[in-house]
């Protein structure tokens, strides 16, 4: 078969596992959104490593950013009679049908990274992960505090993620809610930078030309912020001083920028869900009661904290 050469050698082992729960080795089917960012890859790696450590068999599927693919993958997991299905939904809605099938097949489902909007909460056992709205809020709250003493209006520009994507929607929402506390804070321009460095840079270039006075930049992820840095430098301004920069994620490059004083604040969105997920999977399988919502710790970093955290930052 074409697959044997590329994967690893234990594909034959599937046959054992498909017998289902009789086996002692826990089989987890995990459908990942994709590998669209370094954050996502760190997330994937964490899950893979934890599964290996725990001695579970992980069936990993990459949906390449498409909900259709995720639904297909879940169906195939059901066919393979995995013990637990976990997935990071691409979007919130539209999971009921397939989750019902999983429920009928008596396979527990764990959501990671973000929730779904099903009315029927019995379709999944638990949710583990970050809250994009909260991240936006954390960023906004810090800004409100920071600029509390500002006399005049504070001009904010926002670099959104991909238009229509969940993190972009939620981070925008959370941030907007938080800064509503101070009427001086005003978002003067908001454009999509598609979560990429190139996008962030390109948009920021135009922001800088169109708006003579920009006080704050809020980027929905580090990468766009890093791209914007270059635009700001090229325009002859000093990032972190002339323009306050707030981002979300806290990947290594972002933390470096923060430590270097180019960023001012990062709200973390931790990708390291692996250990918690394995723990939950085990409990769910054993029929133990688990909390309906397990939130990963959302830390935030200022420049000093970043300096301290940077040396043992892995991703």
């Amino acid at each position: 078969g074409g697959l044997a050469g590329c994967g690893n050698s234990d594909t034959g082992g599937d046959d054992k596992s498909s017998g289902g729960s009789g086996n002692d080795k826990l089989v987890i089917g995990f459908s990942q959104v994709g590998a669209e960012s370094g954050w996502r890859t760190a997330n994937t790696n964490s899950i893979k490593e934890s599964a290996a450590e725990a001695g579970y068999e992980l069936k990993f599927d990459d949906a390449q950013g498409k909900q259709e693919n995720q639904i297909k993958a879940i169906r195939n997991f059901i066919q393979q009679k995995v013990d637990v299905i976990a997935f990071s939904p691409v979007v919130e809605s539209g999971w009921d049908t397939v989750l019902k099938e999983a429920k009928d097949a008596k396979i527990p489902v764990i959501l990671t990274d973000r929730a779904v909007d099903s009315a029927d909460k019995s379709l999944y056992k638990t949710f583990i992960g970050s809250d994009f709205v909260k991240e936006g809020k954390l960023a906004g709250e810090w800004l409100v505090k920071e600029k509390a003493s500002a006399a005049g209006p504070v001009n904010i520009v926002e670099l959104q993620g991909t238009t229509g994507s969940a993190p972009a929607n939620d981070r925008k929402k959370g941030f907007a809610e938080a800064i509503a506390a101070n009427p001086n804070l005003k978002v003067v321009a908001s454009q999509s930078g598609d979560f990429t460095r190139a996008g962030g840079k390109q948009v920021m270039e135009q922001f800088l030309k169109a708006n003579p006075k920009i006080d704050v930049l809020f980027a929905h992820n580090d990468d766009m912020g890093l791209g914007a840095l270059e635009a700001i430098t090229a325009a002859g301004k000093t990032p972190g001083k002339d323009i306050t920069i707030i981002t979300i994620d806290a990947v290594k490059d972002g933390m470096q920028a923060l430590a270097d004083g180019k960023f001012n604040f990062i709200a973390e969105c931790s990708p390291l869900l692996g250990p918690q997920l394995m723990d939950l999977a085990k409990k769910v399988k054993a029929g133990e009661e688990v909390p309906a919502r397990v939130e990963t710790e959302e830390t935030t970093f200022t420049q000093e904290q970043a300096k301290a955290a940077l040396p043992n930052r892995k991703y």
């Binding site: 590998a35 370094g38 979560f195 990429t196 460095r197 135009q206 030309k209 169109a210």
Partner: protein
Amino acid sequence: MSTVRARAAGITGHRLFWPLVVLVLLLVANAVYRPSFLSVELKNGHLYGSLIDIVRLSAPLILVALGMSLVIATGGIDLSVGAVAAVAGAVACLYISEQPDQNSVGVVLTAVALGFGVALLLGAWNGILVAGIGIQPIIATLILMVAGRGLAQLIAEGQIITINSGPYKVIGVGHVLTLPFAIVIALAVTVLVAVLTRRTALGMIIESVGGNAEASRLAGIRSRRITFLVYVVSAACAAIAGFMMTANVSSADGNAVGLWVELDAILAVVIGGTALAGGRFYLGGTVVGALLIQTLTTSVYAMNIDPQTSLLFKAVVVIVVCLIQAPAFRARFRRRRSVPVTPVEPVGTEKEQVPA
């Protein structure tokens, strides 16, 4: 008087006239929204301004579209350019990131050579599939479009490779003689491709293959070799674009580099007047097409059009461009002009008719 009229007809009849009109209109709209849009100033010896941004940012697209023009001229299509750009950029950045001295020019040159070499291999792969095995171009290049992205991510192991290399950065954001280096590269490659195709017989041969492959074969043209060649050239152009895109942000993101650039490139080529069915190609038109597309993108940012509706805005502009560019459309809105006619030799006035 009549010569003025004729000349005006000649200008408005030119293939590039209408795309250029739309381009100018877009710029004017921007200038009205924000008068400083058109201003270009000299900052630290560099030209600075939105217009310069547009040209600089369209440089990668111009490169990709140039290669695409040649591919399309042969009646093919290359969907893999984005992936090839990503792979080339990733290879170069990976190499640089592993060197102790990232600022050495030698290192950067090696990196670029490596990336370029890999891209040529990928181009050759496409060429073999299309010209050698005879797979339909869209599918042949789709294979690499999918797998190439994977390859780019594999190289970086799914992470963004960040580098800190002055010389490499120059490719994306450097300046020569006040001009952004990217513009210079794009210009140089454009001139090179133009010279290669129009000063030699290559252009005509490509058009001939695209126009009628079997007739060309029977005329003694090695159609396959030409077909193979254009895919390699396309990959080479994509590689340079890939270096530019990665150098622009000093990092290689296997996912984002050149994402959907193939569609933009094809659009640029088509706006430029080249038919997708193959045959005649127009490099100048392609460049104008690329500039138009980038202007459109930049306008969205510069005029701060709500991202929610920006796609509708783009759709409208693209529709307008293609409508007013179409002779059939303009013909409906224009009185028929008298056409200069070459005189025919008079025939004797004898007109005979016989009874029924």
